[in-house]
């Protein structure tokens, strides 16, 4: 473990991105997946992460939500979520601390992972009621608003098994938003969908980006979509950021060779 005293206990007000990965390393056993990663995401920014499989791009999202790291510190809204403050020093955080800190982060998965024994609206209400302690009435109101937002209000009393993939994913987005996260993670949310329903989900995401000031980190293979709505695109290769920039820069004028190779391979696959 590196010297934790070199990391700030809290990010200063004038240098407070919504998400900061500082010198973050992630290993699975002997395999180093992410090596000394430094990445900032500003408030309200929409960052898309692309790259070949094994590049570590999904791991970036998973470290914010599901996994532990072996090096560095991750900050959300200025406060560390991987470490906690004990007597003025940073120490590795307890399970409970991490879980509470991660309340500010929401995640949507490739395989939706809706709770099959609950209806759409119950799925959305679950977090607010059980974790945030909201009353059922308030949670229901909020969930209905969100289901309205994603266009699924008329299916609110259906079980996931009755919904198509695209519909399930939209409910999953509503469920994540019901927790009012500061950061939303979208992990290949269209990769498991039939081509004809991808559009319903990308529409919803587009809406979220333009109408709400939500900080979003997205991993996707949908290059056209990424180009259309991202503020910034990061190309990952071999556990590091190979290149990043605005969509116009990265897609239109990739500077690194690996980026060019990847983009041309993806284009020919389309």
């Amino acid at each position: 473990m590196d010297n934790l005293s070199t990391f700030p206990l809290e990010l200063p007000a004038d240098d407070k991105p919504m998400v900061r990965f500082q010198n973050v390393t992630k290993r699975y056993g002997a395999l180093t997946v992410l090596d000394n990663l430094n990445l900032d995401v500003a408030e309200g920014e929409m960052v898309t992460i692309i790259g070949p499989s094994g590049s570590g791009k999904t791991t970036v999202l998973r470290m914010l939500m599901l996994e532990q790291i072996q090096g560095g510190v991750i900050y959300v809204d200025g406060r560390p979520i991987t470490h906690m403050n004990k007597g003025g020093k940073l120490i590795p955080a307890s399970e409970k601390y991490i879980r509470v800190a991660r309340e500010d982060v929401g995640m949507c998965f490739q395989h939706f992972n809706l709770f099959p024994h609950m209806t759409a609206i119950q799925n959305c209400m679950e977090g607010p009621v059980q974790v945030l302690g909201m009353s059922k009435k308030d949670a229901r109101e909020r969930s209905e608003e969100l289901l309205e937002l994603v266009g699924m209000i008329d299916k609110k009393d259906q079980h996931p098994s009755r919904l198509s993939g695209g519909q399930q994913q939209r409910v999953a987005i509503a469920r994540a938003l019901a927790m009012r996260p500061k950061v939303l993670l979208l992990d290949e949310v269209t990769s498991a969908l039939d081509p004809e329903v991808i559009g319903e989900v990308t529409e919803v995401i587009k809406n979220l980006v333009t109408a709400h000031n939500l900080t979003i980190m997205m991993v996707t293979h949908q290059m056209g979509f990424a180009r259309e709505i991202s503020d910034r695109v990061c190309f990952f290769y071999g556990g590091r950021i190979e290149e990043q920039g605005s969509p116009a820069e990265l897609f239109g004028n990739p500077r690194k060779e690996r980026t060019q190779q990847f983009l041309s391979a993806v284009k020919s696959a389309d």
Partner: protein, 221 residues
């Protein structure tokens, strides 16, 4: 005497036996379910202090025979000052023994729930207890029901052993009737038929109904 005559004369005793068997069965089932949950969850725990006792319990009760456990509880435990009445000893042994088998079914059912469900519940920052109780266990329950059906039938069959510690269940009555009439085929045959009816016409349809209800609740009907 013909078989209908036999039933007319001795039917009442069988009915008494059925009542006792039913109570033993239900009490043992309740105990087994509770123990299965505790031990099954315990074995899955990442905490050694919870896991090792659970593993030890399961291996011990599955590794020794029900009859031996029953006799041990009935004859040996009193020597240590703990005496239960024979009815309690009966369903206690049954529940403790079958709870060990049930624990493995609970464990298997939980492990069969897709990992994505754990991740989704975690992503909503649900506490481990809420996660297990509200998300994982309901789904695990449906996974577990078919093998639990078999286990419940084993439980029913196991209740017959309490006759050996003089609990007046169906088998006890059958032995009594055999002892006094020597009509073994009728005496034991009737008992066999009673258990068969219990199992095929009561327990199995009930478990299938339970599976249907749970499937519907999970939206899978």
């Amino acid at each position: 005497m013909s078989y209908p005559e036999f039933l007319a004369v001795h039917g009442g005793r069988y009915l008494d036996g059925i009542q006792v068997t039913a109570v033993q069965f239900l009490m043992a089932a309740a105990l087994a379910i509770v123990i299965s949950l505790i031990m099954g969850l315990g074995k899955l725990s990442s905490n050694r202090l919870l896991r090792w006792p659970a593993v030890a319990y399961i291996e011990f009760f599955r590794g020794t025979s029900l009859l031996v456990q029953l006799f041990w509880l009935f004859y040996v435990l009193p020597l240590f000052g703990i005496t239960f009445d024979k009815y309690v000893t009966g369903f206690l042994a049954l529940g403790l023994n079958l709870g060990a088998y049930g624990a493995e079914l609970v464990r298997g059912g939980i492990q069969a729930v897709p990992r994505g469900q754990w991740e989704a519940a975690y992503s909503l920052s649900m506490s481990p207890a809420k996660r297990m109780w509200r998300i994982i266990l309901p789904q695990a329950l449906l996974n577990m029901l078919p093998p639990w059906g078999n286990l419940i039938i084993e439980l029913l069959k196991g209740t017959a052993l309490v006759a050996l510690i003089a609990v007046p269940d169906v088998m006890f009555e059958a032995r009594q009737i055999n002892g006094s009439t020597f009509l073994s085929a009728q005496a034991f045959g009737t008992a066999l038929i009673i258990y068969y009816i219990f199992a095929r016409l009561l327990v199995t349809p009930f478990m299938r109904w339970l599976e249907r209800v749970m499937s519907r609740k999970l939206g899978r009907a």
